[in-house]
Subunit: 319 residues, 2 copies
Amino acid sequence: MASIKEVAQLAGVGIGTVSRVINGGSVSENTRVRVDEAIRKLNYVPNYSAQTLKTQRAGIIGLFVPVFNNPFFCAIADRIEAQLNKEGYNMLVVCSQEDKEKEVRVLRLLAQNRVDGAIFITHNELGTIDETLPLVTIDRHLGKDIPCITSDNYESTTKAIELMIEKGSRNVAYVGGKPMASSEVEMRYKAYLDVMAKYGYEPIVYYKNTKHGQDYSVAHDFFDRYGDRVDAVFCSGDTFAYLLYQFAVQKYEIPSQFRIVSYDGVMQNWVGKPDISCVKQDIDKMAQRVVEALFMRINGEKCEKKVIVPASFHIGETI
Amino acid sequence: MASIKEVAQLAGVGIGTVSRVINGGSVSENTRVRVDEAIRKLNYVPNYSAQTLKTQRAGIIGLFVPVFNNPFFCAIADRIEAQLNKEGYNMLVVCSQEDKEKEVRVLRLLAQNRVDGAIFITHNELGTIDETLPLVTIDRHLGKDIPCITSDNYESTTKAIELMIEKGSRNVAYVGGKPMASSEVEMRYKAYLDVMAKYGYEPIVYYKNTKHGQDYSVAHDFFDRYGDRVDAVFCSGDTFAYLLYQFAVQKYEIPSQFRIVSYDGVMQNWVGKPDISCVKQDIDKMAQRVVEALFMRINGEKCEKKVIVPASFHIGETI
DNA sequence: ATGAAAGCGCTAACAG
DNA sequence: CTGTTAGCGCTTTCAT
């Protein structure tokens, strides 16, 4: 592994000059050519750790997710990675998955300046966050000054549920993961309750915690408990909706007897059918905003505390 | 951000002693306590870049995938991340996604020793690989000495297709992504051809390149072209199978009139139903083997060139 | 424009 | 057992 010193020697210049060539300092055309040639000959690539140590810039952003094995997380991770790359950054992924020790390690990563900033999509609790590191979250409230990028959860959910009622549903249940931390996702729940209250319907809430993916048993469980008194369900996430659909379609005429609406809308093109009606988050734009906000923090610019990316309603075959 | 120097000063010792405390060298109980206290007081965390520069060990492994937004990749990424963490490593993700520039950047990462090793699940072409960096692949042939972890593609596929035939299918089509690079996945295709030849059936092959997820149109396209002469399909990947199922179920009695078998078996618990029959890869074990092999390379130990993790056949409702 | 030199924060070898 | 010292490879003054 050639070092800058060897390049300098081969080119017959000082190491400072080589550095200038690399980083675009002022160098005479003549020497630049010689240095470039030496670089090429030695197949030289600057040592990243040395650069980082000196410049205090790692070129890496941490992404913290609960698990990776989930359509929403990996859809947004995919877009975030693409965005970060445009800015010349790489993405380090940490899955905080129900692991207390890991939380500690996460915090160490932050403190150790292995990353220049971090994005949280975690729903787990976290220890004290390093105040100095630029942070941004998706959906999550992490601290006073930490920007949160989210969709218009309350409005979108309200509209969705009102539409279900308008179409004729009377007993709409709410199905979602149990909130583990303060998050904008709760707004979906709140919207649900508010609409129920407004129409004078009794809310039916089914919470279920997601671990390594959901499985079909939740559908059985849900219908065992509420099957006799619901005629529609709003799911705070795609997986629930798909699972419930598979069960419901065997018993009901959909949508006339049973309506389903989900939130997220990322599983559609993985599965094709059923075309579940859903509040579709604008993943691309969210990823964009997340990265934008993060870089504002990194550059010390002021940045809104909450950025709302409107979601759209997708009319599928289940409403 | 406190440095080792400050800790040494506060504890009234030399920096070497502090380093020894951190890295477990021999230090008297007395001084160890004093140093520990200073560390705590200053909230000191060793600077990662400095450590890396000195030790030449980054504690980061690169994972290269074509896209992230795919059930198989993210399932295995999830398990790999967990494995790496056990070993005290973090995972840096790069999505090589149809981007020539990105390829160059990937290679730079490798050369720059930003990572201590890398795992490739990429199906894209790649430039010349740095020979010095420890590498391992999943399913992919990258070079003579680069270990490849894979499932028993040929055997599993053979068994699957023979089972389809045994059940009564005569016109089994093969559906998969077009191979972009030499990969063990081709063994599925080869197995298919061999079985067809053995029984004297004419092979029907439908290749389709995957970009950002598949969509339902492939199902239309496939059935437009081959619908009148197939009675079964073997899919080299879950997404194809799900999409084709949704279409097929409207026209055929499944499985009596139309059989579907997929390879991977990771989408099941995201979707619940249909319970597609499939060759189920042992994702957990594969991730384990991948990381094992990688660390053997990192530690300079000899390691098998090909590690085969047997897949199992899952009998669902489509066979 | 460019060479020399000072460090970034750490580890490890060397004295003592 | 412990303090001192020499780099790891790079960027960035500071002279020249």
